[in-house]
Amino acid sequence: MTLLEVESVSKSFRGLRAVDDVSFTVEEGSILGIIGPNGAGKTTLFNLVAGALPPDTGSVRLAGTDVTGAKPHRISHAGMARTFQLMKPFGSLSVLENVAVARMAAGASRRRAPAEAADVVDRVGLTRWRDARSEGLPTAGLKRLELARALASRPRVLLLDEVLAGLVPAERTPVMELLETLRRDDGITLVFVEHIMAAVMRLSDSVLVLDQGRVLTSGEPHQVTQDPRVIEAYLGEEPTVAGP
């Protein structure tokens, strides 16, 4: 079943077309990787899909329901969660409280939220930091917190904006493993923006390449990364693309 359908969405900022006629669909239970050089419009695309920005044109359908231009909290209630590339913790709250707020926002009662949140905190590996003030966390912790909060809303589809960026290789593996279990055990559909090609190759069922706001190409990971246009768009921009 097609869970997410994005049809020719566009967005301009003062004449600059940040996202230009982008379409894609995501099947339930699959993983879509989105790659592209910096400034290709990846984060803007996420903002359009998740309701943080209204698209100028085009439509977004979630599980068959039109959510184009809906407020972010409505889209969240409809089953979509997202993380932010620039982490946005509720800084005055502890890690556990951050996640508990997310549980409550998704409908859990105040009594049950902390216990349910604690499970999520354990799952993303933040147990050690559970009672720490969130704004003091190191980058790796904040990335995990983004993930934990998004998971706490129990989404059907999860948009991940560079959850691996800023992590050292040893920190990436457990996160990638977690993402795989989310799909396998929880049936969560994943759409993720990532620069780290090893992760894209390992996780994605299909890959969408953006360049200057447009879809350059899409398809299976191996096929896409050998496309000469993709290599050209990335040349000198992201050496990681040529890596293993």
């Binding site: 932010f84 509720f90 707020v101």
Partner: protein, 352 residues
């Protein structure tokens, strides 16, 4: 301090929010303060009542501007509505100020939500938001001055009753009942604030303050959360207005809606500690007497300061200097500074 050490210090465990302990502290405070009017001389008793009025004002302001993060420079609007709605109902309709207080809360809460909606609808933030709140308070002042409905600039005197009456919140001058009522209202305001903050809605308020985009993405309705916070804030502050009129028997547009009222809502919270439960109360306890002390000192200065005698306005200067000193020395407020010190000592004692 190295970067790592700094990070580890910042990530030290937060104390779990101790709502229960806060509620117990409120109860203890109430019990301790009840006998106060029996021991205080009459002059000091009026200072104590003023402290409580300041506290209620600031507790209300702190809900919106401290915990909600939306800086208000116009809380005179809600204080004034609490004052005018209740006194109008009393004088024109003979309705008890207790009922007037409830009606005033509803009116102030609704008006606060309306102001909030307009300001947020047009995406005003920071200083512009504060200016908008100031403008609405000023607008109410001008409407009151120019409206026959509320006696224009003359305002209202509370009609004197032949006998003291609980139903009409009127007692003989200097009665301890005034203090007890103000104390009860302060306790209720504190308890409501604590219960609100620990509720789902209150958690949403703090989350929205900390990061609006993240809150929205997680399913929190940002606008509704802010409006609920603002309405509660306005309703609490209006209670101070209703009580004020009954205590001083008088209100006019400047007393109710003047911008000095807005400042008096801000100062105790800033002095005591913004976005802390006890900050407004502690700040009020510092400011209420301070005002009095500076005025007294300059009216009857000790011999060393004799040269200050009779210079008009100097008490205000001294008051302002003391405020500046407090803000400079305790940027987190009195409560914030004490809390940090206690936490640091606890952290130091814990084995590494």
């Amino acid at each position: 301090m190295t970067a790592t050490a700094e990070r580890e210090a910042a990530a030290a465990p937060l104390p779990r929010p101790a709502w229960g302990r806060h509620l117990v502290a409120v109860a203890v405070l109430a019990v301790v303060l009840v006998p106060l009017p029996l021991v205080l001389p009459a002059a000091q008793q009026s200072v104590a009542v003023r402290v409580l009025v300041f506290a209620i004002l600031a507790i209300g302001w702190n809900v919106m501007s401290g915990f909600g993060g939306m800086f208000s420079f116009g809380h005179a609007a809600y204080f004034g509505l609490g004052a005018y709605v209740s006194v109008w109902l009393l004088v024109e309709r003979g309705i008890s100020p207790w009922i007037g207080m409830l009606v005033g809360m509803v009116v102030a809460g609704a008006f606060a939500a309306l102001i909030g909606f307009l300001a947020l609808r047009y995406r005003l933030k920071g200083a512009y938001f504060a200016l908008a709140t100031f403008a609405f308070a000023e607008m109410l002042r001008l409407i009151a001055i120019n409206s026959d409905l509320v006696n224009r600039a003359v305002g209202y005197n509370v009609p004197l009753r032949s006998e003291p009456s609980w139903a009409y919140m009127q007692f003989e001058p200097g009665s301890a009942n005034y203090f007890w009522i103000a104390l009860a209202l302060t306790v209720v305001a504190l308890v409501v604030t604590i219960l609100f903050l620990r509720s789902r809605q209150g958690r949403f308020t703090v989350a929205v303050r900390d990061d609006e985009d993240a809150a929205a993405a997680l399913g929190i309705p940002v606008m509704r959360t802010k409006l609920i916070t603002i309405a509660l804030s306005g309703a609490i502050t209006s209670v101070a207005g209703t009580f004020y009129v009954q205590y001083y028997f008088f209100v006019d547009p400047d007393v109710a809606f003047g911008n000095s009222v807005s400042i008096q809502a801000i100062l105790p919270a800033v002095i005591g500690g913004v976005a802390t439960i006890w900050g407004p109360v502690i700040g009020a306890a510092v400011l209420g007497p301070l005002n009095d002390v500076t005025a007294t000192v300059l009216r009857n200065p000790p011999p060393a300061l004799d040269f200050l005698q009779g210079r008009a306005g100097l008490d205000v200067v001294l008051y302002a200097l003391l405020l500046i000193l407090i803000v400079l020395l305790l940027p987190q407020g009195v409560y914030g500074a004490i809390r940090d010190r206690v936490q640091r000592r606890r952290a130091g004692r814990r084995p590494a």
